[in-house]
């Protein structure tokens, strides 16, 4: 039998249900791997061995009683942005370094009900603001493919953990690319569903009109299994959508014959040659399976980054106003008065990137600037969404690269915020338009993985997973293991 840590969730699920392995055994194997590699990668903020083993024991009882589902007994890791009851939930910030959540996020609760075992909470950029996992209060995460490089962000810990086989899958969140970009940089399959598809309840808010939860997995099939358990209406999230969740796993088998793929002209501008070559090769492979390729243009897409850096900071400045040093979170020492308490608790509790974004947001929303910045950005956002809508009249999905470069060196882009922001140039559009999007490994430039991005119309998650799955049937990029982690 293949070693446990190299198996997919689908394979582990079959072994658990046949009784060939137990969840306790599986959970111990991953806990041991986390212990061995944590110092090197810093992928976790909290590891919970006792709790994980207790959950695994319960899962084994369920399995023995014949009541196990597809995910019963599967250990995973949660990004530390999801509240987990009676456990530390830090959001990568000093502000919440000692915060013990009094409740579970809906995503956590649903996966728990499905019998999933939580190994621990993964490291992330502070409040999910970053593209390299270097803004975490708990230190940067390292990319298992090359530990001198970043894993991407903001869900960098989840991506590094799955790539290093410290967990067979992990949750993440994506506001401007925070699942797809690290999935691309770490050689994983990562999906950001349609806005409103997965509940945001208990997921610490960054930009509420863009935030969406999703997963990192080794394959599209595994992502489909996890998303099936996570998705669906939740009355506790005011923007949760009341639509039934289709059977994502059943949809995987659809052949690609006749699928209309839009090749996005704007996604190939400013792209490094080795990445472009891999994307074109992947498109050829999809064409060989019967898909039809057609060039499409989204003329307003190049405005995604400036639009995002008005909308996201504006929403962040409002969401993060709740951290006041009074009800929960960090409080400064010896405040002189109430104003000093607010200002120093926030000044000391937040890191530099979070403060920068709060200030940008405060500025663009301040009296006299609202129309010029926020209203204007929401208008351009409407133009970007309309571009996508027009494209989806002609094609079923649009495809391009996930990122303009492969994983970069730690420290390479920390000096200028704009250089860092441009990492998300291809991913932000889907968030602005609320569309589902996925990144799938499509080869290596040198030693580093490259991601292919597939974007679909609203609620087309099943189609995206289907395209990725059919691609993965004919390729093995997604099964490559970084050296030293096999």
């Amino acid at each position: 039998m293949t070693e446990l840590h190299l198996m997919t969730v689908a394979e582990l699920s079959a072994s658990l249900r046949s009784g060939a392995i137990s969840s306790v055994e599986l959970t111990r194997a991953f806990l041991a791997r986390i212990e061995r590699h944590q110092r090197e990668l810093n992928a976790f903020i909290t590891v919970s061995p006792d709790r994980a083993l207790a959950e695994a024991t319960r899962a084994d009882e369920r399995l023995r009683a014949g009541r196990g589902g597809a995910l019963t007994g599967i250990p995973i890791a949660h990004k530390d942005i999801f509240c987990t009851r009676d456990e530390k939930t830090t959001c990568g910030s000093r502000m919440l370094a000692n915060f013990i959540s009094p409740y579970d996020a809906t995503v956590v609760q649903r996966l728990r009900e499905a019998g999933v075992v939580c190994l621990g909470k993964t490291n992330m950029d502070e409040f999910a603001m970053g593209s390299s996992n270097e803004t975490s209060w708990f230190g940067p995460v390292r990319n298992p493919w090359d530990t001198a490089r970043v894993p991407g962000g903001s869900s960098g810990g989840s991506a590094a953990a799955v790539a290093a086989r410290l967990a067979p899958a992990a949750t993440g969140t994506d506001t401007g690319g925070s699942i797809r970009q690290p999935a691309a940089l770490c050689g994983l399959t990562g999906i950001k569903p349609t806005y409103g598809r997965v509940s945001r309840y208990g997921m610490i808010a960054f930009a509420s009109s863009l935030d969406q939860a999703g997963v990192f997995a080794l394959s599209a099939e595994d992502a489909a299994l996890l998303l099936s358990a996570m998705a669906g209406f939740d009355e506790r999230d005011s923007t949760s959508v009341e639509l039934p969740v289709p059977d994502y796993v059943a949809e995987l088998a659809q052949p690609l014959k006749g699928l209309k793929i839009g090749v996005l002209r704007e996604f190939f501008q400013g792209l490094e040659a080795p990445i472009e070559e891999l994307i074109r090769t992947a498109l050829d492979a999809l064409h060989a399976q019967g898909a039809v390729l057609k060039e499409v243009s989204l003329p307003h897409l190049p405005l995604s980054v400036p639009t995002y850096y008005v909308v996201a900071p504006a929403e962040c400045s409002s969401n993060l106003a709740r951290f006041d040093g009074v009800r929960y979170g960090y409080r400064c020492e010896k405040p002189r008065d109430l104003a000093d308490l607010y200002q120093r608790s926030r000044g000391e509790g937040f890191g530099a990137e979070v403060k920068r974004r709060i200030m940008i947001g405060t500025y663009v929303l301040s009296a006299g600037y609202y129309d010029a910045y926020y209203l204007k950005a929401q208008q351009v956002r409407a133009l970007i969404a309309a571009d996508f809508e027009r494209a989806f009249h002609e094609v079923d999905v649009v495809i391009g690269p996930t990122t303009p470069t492969t994983a970069f060196a730690l420290g390479a882009k920390t000096q200028d915020p704009v250089t860092m922001y441009l990492n998300d140039i291809y991913t932000i559009g889907a968030n602005l338009a609320g569309l589902p999007a996925l990144s799938v490994p499509c080869g290596f430039a040198g030693e580093l993985p490259v991601g292919l991005q597939i974007v679909g119309p609203h609620f087309a998650e099943g189609r995206l997973l289907n395209v990725a799955h059919q691609y993965q049937r004919e390729s093995d990029w997604h099964l490559r293991v970084p050296r030293g982690f096999g």
Binding site: P306, A321, Y328, I358, A372, Y373, P417
Partner: protein, 96 residues
Amino acid sequence: MSITREQLESIARLARLSLSADEAPQYAEGLSRVLALVEQLQGVDTRSVIPMAHPLPGQRARLRTDEVKETDQHELYQRNAPQVEAGLYLVPRVIE
């Protein structure tokens, strides 16, 4: 677009963020760069474009009936508070 020292101080005050004197130039520089990036939007013709209010077309805020569903758990929630007394959150004296 360049942010002056005075503008930065005013933004920080509105955002209730203390900034040390040595951090200030770095933030002024960073904010100026981001605002220069955002400046690109000014060139776009958006006359007659309705600003986007929701990422999903046709979706509106869902209303619920006003009924009590949650139980009182203030003790549990206050375990995370820096300073609490008799069920109240403590802050420095506001009225002398």
